[in-house]
């Protein structure tokens, strides 16, 4: 697991200016570090589609956001995602925690998130990349242009 201070440094190095954010329990470990930082600016939202719309406005205004949320929120936010990536054609980048992914690799799980995340991302015709969990891998992934979904195994 990347530590909060390490995450901040990675985001700043990559030029991320804002983090529209609705965390799950795993991403939530970074909450304190992100909340303390002046940059990138943390933007808490009530629902994940909002995070995508706010990121669109930030991109239109010249900022470099990274939306951070859980896969369940990505499922909910489908219309915002479709609109921002395909209608507005903005280089949206998302960091998505994939619930139960690690457990699903070692046996059957009742959680359907692992089953649907990749087909969902593919259906929206989004480029995706699974992260290994190391800081180096994350740093490299942050240099890739959007639209891009970074999938974080949980």
């Amino acid at each position: 697991m990347i530590e909060g201070s390490q995450l901040l440094a990675l985001l700043l190095d990559a030029g991320i200016t804002h983090v529209p954010w609705l965390p799950d329990s795993e991403l939530g470990r970074w909450e304190a570090a992100l909340a303390r930082a002046q940059k990138p600016q943390l933007i808490r939202v009530c629902r994940e589609g909002e995070a995508i719309a706010i990121a669109a406005g930030l991109l239109l205004g010249g900022a470099q956001p990274l939306v951070m949320l859980q896969c369940t929120g990505l499922f909910e936010a489908g219309d915002a995602l479709r609109n921002v990536v395909h209608d507005l054609q903005l280089p949206l980048r998302l960091f998505v925690g994939v619930r139960s992914w690690k457990a699903s690799r070692s046996g059957p799980v009742t959680d359907t998130c692992p089953r649907f995340i990749q087909p969902y991302v593919d259906a929206w015709q989004l480029r995706s990349r699974w992260l290994s969990g190391t800081a180096d891998d994350f740093a490299t992934a942050l240099l890739e242009p959007g639209p891009l979904v970074l999938l974080w195994p949980e």
Partner: protein
């Protein structure tokens, strides 16, 4: 009660250099009042998400934004009120309340005419004002639009039945190109 055109006319007069994001029925009317790089017709849209786009743009640029939102659009994303209060930005959210989903022909929204958007805004932590009288709106619009946001302006307007979805004057890519070009020119001309 006022018509949509009557409600929008004072906004066009007093918006200054604020970005105006129009949605739904306003997309068809606003270009008759203003059509420049700072007029952004959010269509095709993800319904309900214009306030989020406005918030992001205002945070990125430090500039003001006016959102011409429908009552149905606002109901689809009430959380935007709380999100805007949580991370304040210079956004004026204009809720054009006709009680209808007008662009789909005029079906009523949930609890049409009974939804207290001002109470919701206040509970979320936002200031807001309601206008049902045209002359009062005309008299106070300039002051409201010159007040730094976030601010909610709830306008009660007449609905129309049998309307169709309006078409924006320009494709989205062209609108974005105009807006970003304007922003670059403004930033280049402003003192550093």
């Amino acid at each position: 009660m006022m018509t949509l055109l009557e409600a929008l006319r004072p906004i066009a007069q007093h918006r200054g250099d604020q970005l105006v994001i129009s949605t739904m029925a306003a997309v068809g009317v606003w270009p008759t009042l203003s059509d420049g790089p700072l007029d952004f017709a959010y269509m095709p849209s993800a319904m309900g998400h214009a306030p989020g786009i406005a918030q992001g743009w205002a945070l990125a640029t430090g500039r003001g934004v006016i959102v011409l939102n429908g009552d149905g659009s606002t109901l689809m994303n009430l959380g935007c009120l709380v999100t805007l209060a949580q991370t304040p930005a210079n956004v004026k959210l204009v809720i054009l309340d006709n009680g209808l989903y007008e662009v789909t022909g005029g079906q009523p929204i949930c609890r049409a005419g009974q939804v207290d958007f001002m109470a919701m805004a206040s509970a979320a932590g936002l200031r807001g004002f309601r206008y049902s009288n045209l002359s009062t709106w005309q008299a106070e619009c300039e002051r409201r639009l010159q007040t730094p946001g976030p601010l909610v302006l709830h306008l009660l307007i007449e609905g129309k039945l049998g309307q169709t979805t309006p078409k924006p004057l320009r494709a989205m890519a062209e609108q974005i190109r105009r807006l970003q070009q304007y922003l670059r020119q403004r930033e280049d001309s402003e003192p550093k």
